[in-house]
Symmetry: D2
Subunit: 326 residues, 4 copies
């Protein structure tokens, strides 16, 4: 069994994934997509950046859109449990020989920027500005009615190594795909907050961000989004779905933003907080792993992803391939 | 505009489509599919035939499964408004030089068998045994929770001619697809009962039955069916969907029974009872016609269908083709 | 059995209920309710009137809001099948000694105003301006996402007589409530268009309009409306529901507009087009008749209704009472 | 502000609520209710006890039904994070002068029984037998399709004291109701696992168990349960709902089992894992606190509850009362 035992007492305490900053090439076009179509709420904006939150979030933002010359991902943000964890986290990365830079970020308290061993830019903080709840202001619900950011999924050139590193930080594997031939892990889902994942890794040219996911109330919200996108000029931005993943059991839809950043809209995974939760193993050759209902994903879904600022990508040496739609 | 004006005063009064008899090669396997998976209710059965109804129907049956050496369709049944309509209907077919045979059918009163000009076997009646309502016996709901039979869709080698013949019988066109090049109709949806269709015709090798459709309460029932089929050995019987048709605006799923007979599960079309309802025209080159969300249908969906007993098939001379999934 | 046999060949052919004109005392307040909360679409408006349609309707309007000194109902409108039906309908009313006035109505062709024997103002027409379809313009869906007007429900001081009169016009009873003691009908549901009702009658001080109903896609739209009304200042306008009626099996919600006109939002009844459909009988003492789930309706629901312009009301002589919430 | 600051570093680490044991007076009747109506899965049973789990749970059971002469609650069970927590937990209770008894329980590892200061019997463990996942065996889904046990709600004669004690154990308040007059807390919701609650306390004669709650996928499953109960002889067991709580924003239904034990079925609360989550305060006089849509709860809901074995009850000295349905 290739999955390491979970780290029950990690060196620092991550509560959950928190936010992502996307470089976008046309801020107005991105605003239209994220606000008018997806239904995220603007919490601050200026000429260069738009800050957004989902409906049940009280932290100031879960996405930052930043006007940029080229599309990219500036950082993945994680919230720590309590103030002492910040220094512990910084010490962990320094101990790995990774750069730690204490930075000022609007709407956040003390915060440092670092990266994982493959160059994925990471940001850790404890306190972000807290906003009044809006989850019962039903007049504001719009688009797909996004409730909260749920997880990041990354292409990794070596998923076994990614699991080991993120596992050391306390992320616990809930489900994974094994390449039967090599016995190596082809993909893995890892959580901190008690759902199927805060982060996931998929074998491929990496590191790249495969997608950021948002949680919505029911499958009908996803159907509403499809109808809306299909009739407002976004039909080509619908990439895959609706469907149910075998892995995670989630009902899903994948869409692409105007720069091609992939967003998953999803609901219906399950509770994973038990420390002795047994990871579920899937075979790479099982088509129901990807889509319980049998339809394979399109090639773009396996091959395209967003570049992380400053990270060099390399091909995976694990050449095993899943079933791809013709 | 190639669509003839509706026949507001047809020679006889058809209330709605009513039932279909399928020849099936393994009655037990078909029973498992229609009863345990789709959730239709058995109202009578013997060694050779199983009669089924959907949850809100009070007529005795909407499907007959008949043990047969080969898969096929024995007849499409239609309910007439009142007793005098039977003779008027028979006279209509006789006037067209089509065979009219008065037959005895279990659970039905007076009834005749005929066929359309292309050999599709048709059955007309006024009275079928009426059963007590079960639509509020919620313990019986199962599978996809089918409420009622909704329509038949047929491959036709000449859709223009099919529209003309069925139009003369009082079926009114609600939506249709035109081949822009030839100006001919490639597909048409026609109704009697006030929904988008009781019968539909699609260009292709015909006559063959493309599918029989059942109406269900909400899209979530269709998602439930997908989950059920995917985990009970029927994943290969899922052919297309879920999706929303551009035409009819219906939320749909297509599945295949153990003999390959295609069943559509659907909900969400619209009311069409106005006599001056304007048919909606679609272009064959518009991919959103088939699937509002953009994904084309698989090749099998365009090419495979059920043979009608006794009908000879021929290729369509209209060679225009829609967009097909690669 | 107190229900008369259906009139299969009525003197004229009504296709369906069509529209209602409400007198409202604050046009702006009513606009906010019907447009921003219910989600109806404005098709025309001036200082005195607002015309609205639901999402799948192509006729110009289903509701007219008219600025008035007092709240009331100016007319209930019905669409006839074809032009010759207009004169036949007029002759029917004249033959009953009821007034027939040919009137000009914006957005409608030839039209006459009459009333039923109890003074309910009725309007009959064949052609109304037809508008382009908007049911696939999903950006426009709002509020409860109303698809179409579905039925009128009226208080009647003598339901047996109302059934007889409307039955003569071709409305067919689908379900009814009997007062076991007197053997009289306490309430009845009657249809033309193939659903459970176009019109319904409930015993009480009448004639008054109990409610106008709109059809929505699924129960979740009704839950969305409740959440919206509850958080936008309309919580006191929620009168009853959500629940499922025993009668009709509909999932329902009753709300009140700013003048107290009652609107039902509902989905999930069943197909009734068979001419031999057997009416379902309920006992007045069966609490599941009103609400399948057992909770009785509030007193206001049984007692309050909208006055018809020009109609004098009288108490019912059938004093039997259903179960009312304490 | 009467809510104490959260205990971020509690003396031992509770992962989540886990299970409840009910004394029931007719085991067969209870089995019918929990298995055939609610849809829980039997994982073990003998003449005296039935063990049940919900669909996404891998622990052996979340409810034990025990044949008993009188209805009652034998214990509330909680799962600890890791083995060392067991001794820490035992030490905590011993330090409070509360009894700690190490017991053998089928299907569980090391386990002790204790009680809170008011006599509520509590059970703590780390390991329970783990079962294979069934959440993708869709054939097994039945009744309301329960996914997992979600929380316990208890009547407490002094909610301020209950919050203080459970808060010391690391339960964090998410929402609470204040009696404006006395400034005391009338009800509070407290969590460990990242939802709105694992335990809640409501002012009243206590300690008694108000209800145990199960999480279901969507509001439509709750509507399905209502339809099922209403037509299988359980209409009188429907106590309150469906509705949306102001507090927690949950869509809810309350039903009573054959012994009157109250079960809540619910979905749609929100993520609470942030350590700096601000509790939401409600006023006891706000009717939308109970039901966002305005309808007050019935008297039984405020007054009736299940007795804990061995616990003496006393009246609350906080006499403030919420709005109750007439």
């Amino acid at each position: 069994m290739p999955i390491p035992a979970p780290t029950l007492y990690p060196p620092f305490n991550i509560t959950r994934l928190s936010h992502v900053e996307y470089g976008v090439t046309d801020l107005a076009a991105s605003r239209a997509f994220y606000v008018d179509i997806l239904g995220l709420q603007v919490t601050a904006e200026n000429d260069n950046r738009i800050y957004l939150r989902a409906m049940e979030e009280r932290g100031h933002h879960c996405i930052i859109l930043r006007q940029s010359d080229s599309a990219g991902v500036s950082c993945l943000g994680f919230k720590l449990y309590d103030t002492p964890e910040l220094d512990k986290a910084a010490a962990f990365f320094e101990g790995k020989g990774l750069p730690v830079e204490w930075i000022e970020r609007p709407f956040m308290g003390k915060c440092f920027r670092t990266c994982d061993p493959w160059g994925v830019p990471l940001e850790f903080y404890v306190k972000m500005d807290r906003l009044p709840p809006i989850h019962q202001q039903y007049r504001l619900y719009n688009g797909v009615k996004p409730l909260r950011i749920d997880h990041f999924n990354m292409f990794s050139a070596n998923v076994d190594e990614a699991i080991a590193f993120y596992g050391e930080m306390g992320f616990r594997v809930t489900e994974y795909t094994e390449d039967d031939e090599s016995g190596r892990v082809w993909a893995a889902w890892m959580h901190r907050k008690g759902g199927v994942h805060d982060v996931a890794f998929t074998n491929g040219t990496g590191p790249r961000l495969h997608h950021t996911a948002f949680w919505v109330p029911t499958p009908l919200n996803i159907i509403d989004l499809l109808d809306l996108m299909a009739t407002t000029g976004y039909v080509a931005n619908i990439e895959r779905g609706p469907g149910r993943h075998g892995i995670s059991n989630a009902f899903f839809l994948y869409v692409r933003d105007p720069d091609g950043h992939r967003i998953e809209i999803y609901c219906s995974d399950y509770q994973t907080c038990d420390a002795d939760l047994e990871p579920i193993k899937w075979s790479l050759t099982d088509p129901q792993r990807q889509t319980l209902w049998g339809a394979p994903a399109p090639r773009s879904w396996f091959e395209e992803g967003s570049l992380f600022d400053g990270a060099e990508i390399r091909d995976s040496d694990l050449k095993a391939q899943p079933i791809i739609a013709p």
